[in-house]
Amino acid sequence: MTSRRVLVVDDDDSIREVAQMALELVGGWQVTTAACGAEGWAKAREHQPDAILMDVMMPGMDGPTTFSHMQDDPETREIPVILLTAKVQAGDRREFADLELAGVIAKPFDPMTLSNEVAELLGWQG
């Protein structure tokens, strides 16, 4: 089986790094990263990853906005997106529920179990 390819989009350098490390070392996946929404969208088109992990709050284009652009783009529409958010209040959950997301993972996340959480949301088998 070829290795899964995941794109991580987050403007926080260390979060991006730790997510990449967690998914590569613990999950054994290939990880690409992007530091903002626009870069994330471009990389999604170029690399066609199997899944995208995306921060909600980013400067410029935030996570949900980037997601809706990607939904309108036939080249990225099919890629499942998981939002990473430090905000898990009821109001935000409702807002996210309207989006066709593959899932939401709360920040802070535990790096050692991140890949399991992602696999579970996407129904990936080890």
Partner: protein, 679 residues
Amino acid sequence: MTQEAADRAQNALEAIAERALQTNLARVTELEDAVMATLEGRLDAEQRQSAKRAAHQLAGSAGTFGYPRSSELSERLERFFERGALVDPAELLAATSWLEALQVDLSRPLASREASDDPTGRSANDSTAENQQVAGHLLLAHPDRQLAPKLIHAARARGLVGHWAPDLERAITLQQRHRPNIVLLDPELPPGEGLELLTGLTGEGERPDTFILTTDEDVDRVAAIRAGVTGFLSATLPPDRLLTAALDTVARRQPQPARVLAVDDDPLLLEAIQELFAGTLTEITAVTDPLQVWEALRQTDPDLLLLDVDMPGATGLELCRMVRADPTWAALPVLILTGSIGPTQVRSVFEAGADDYVAKPFVGPELVSRVNNRLERVRLLRGLAENDQLTGLVNRHRLEVQFARLQALAAGEQQPLSIGLLDVDGLKRLNREHGHTFGDSVLQSLSDVLANAFSGDDVVGRWAGQELVVAMYGMHRDDGVARVAALRNEFQRRRFELNGQQVSVTFSAAVAELGPDGKDLHQLFRAATGTVAVAKRAGGDRVVATGWRPSGDETVTDVLVIEDDDALAGLLQHALESRGLSSRQLRDGAEALRRLTGPDRLSARVIVLDVDLPGINGLDLLSLLSQKAVLAHTRVIMLTARAGEAEVLSALQSGAFDHVAKPFSVPVLMQRIRRALDG
């Protein structure tokens, strides 16, 4: 996942966590600024938005990297900034306390993640941050992003809350806010101005102990010491060692408590004694079993022994006799606590060798004053044994002991150590002609000047006769010369009464550095003595580095001063000569060109060149010297006008090594000349 992969992941995570901490500390700083702005009613919408975002990101990042408590506090701060410009005072107060707790929590070393079952470490670390005792604050004013988190962690392990300021402006803000006890300063933040700004702002409070972290030797140590720096630390030391060195120095500056060993089989009485001395500078070690006295003596090395008379196993008097019979403890002051005070008992107390007794039941203040009297005697005797009677400086034996301590310290902390040997010019003649009382008052006066000028880790002592020695910690040879030379003028200003006339006396001094000039105090002393003798033969009244020789060659000079203002040139030459540097003055630009380029040419290591000169002006002369390759072996320091930026620029373009604006301070110019000579 294999164990190996897990370990690798763990290591990688720790490395990333360290980097994340830098970012997070910057976020805390931003939040701090925003909370302060709210407090002062000047938070604008943009800053609020930005702070909210910083809090949000901090919440996500801190939790992920093992600081769940910080994550929770950040969420609260995020909500605080969400609420808009109008906040009620109670909430604002709460926000400042969250911020403080956040700083404490983030300064905590990251607990091993395996230590806790909960992967985020929540159960292990929750709420500990706010409950931990804080011993003080440490401020790192240094742009090093790698050092900051490590040092802050190391500080936290010692109960200090660390703060990081990458620049001076930030340092001053943090200084005002947290009143740190210890400041570690980057030398690039100018020690003069920057330090004054930093320490001055503490106002009536105590000045923090400030250390300069050096990596190069370009630091002006003399100026830094004058500005009030406590000491220097090698920036190449690992953060933990760095902190230990700083804290040790701070501890050495504290008065040492007197140690009393109290022996009584009644624990209640011992408790009462400890109570009496609580909060004083006397430390009581209590022992209830007389048979453990020897062990306790060895462990505490007390200044005084307090013994009860009636104890099972061994009586106080028996113990006292045994202590007196042991050469190690024979001189230890012993005080006996006795219930009965008939004449027979009193005699037996003194026969046993005790120094004094206190009757039981005792009155608290009486015991305290008896103990203190004894301790005072100990100090006095020790002082007599260690200090020179005439000058009050430490004697040679003590100087040797303290130098050995500095030597070990210098080796461990990678710091230089120098000694200065000072010798009054013509003291023997003065003694012979005017009597020893006059000579003694001169020596006392010089000792005063020295004792006032050197403190902290410096040691000032009387070697013998008219030779005074100062050991200067953290100083290279040249720094030492500058420090001692600064005293020269002060000493000269003192006037001595001689046959109804006011006279001034001069001294000569040589400075030797541990390492280049010798490997112990005696070798340094020998090197310095030889040079002082040379300095005296050359006329005295000067401070020189070891190995100095007066220049006998008419065509060679250390510093050539090309300046038509005789008063200024004289001042400069005087300062140079007193530092053991030869100098000459030329008044005319055309003459200078001739002397420097013509046959039988004059060679100088450094030229101090004025801009306005008769004959050829300074800038033109500089270009001509450059064309004639004089600058290949000579460095030129231009004396420019304060506002003459164009002058400075053209001087530097024409090959000047440095420039100093007029009017200048002599010590500053001397420092620049030294730098030019060194290179």
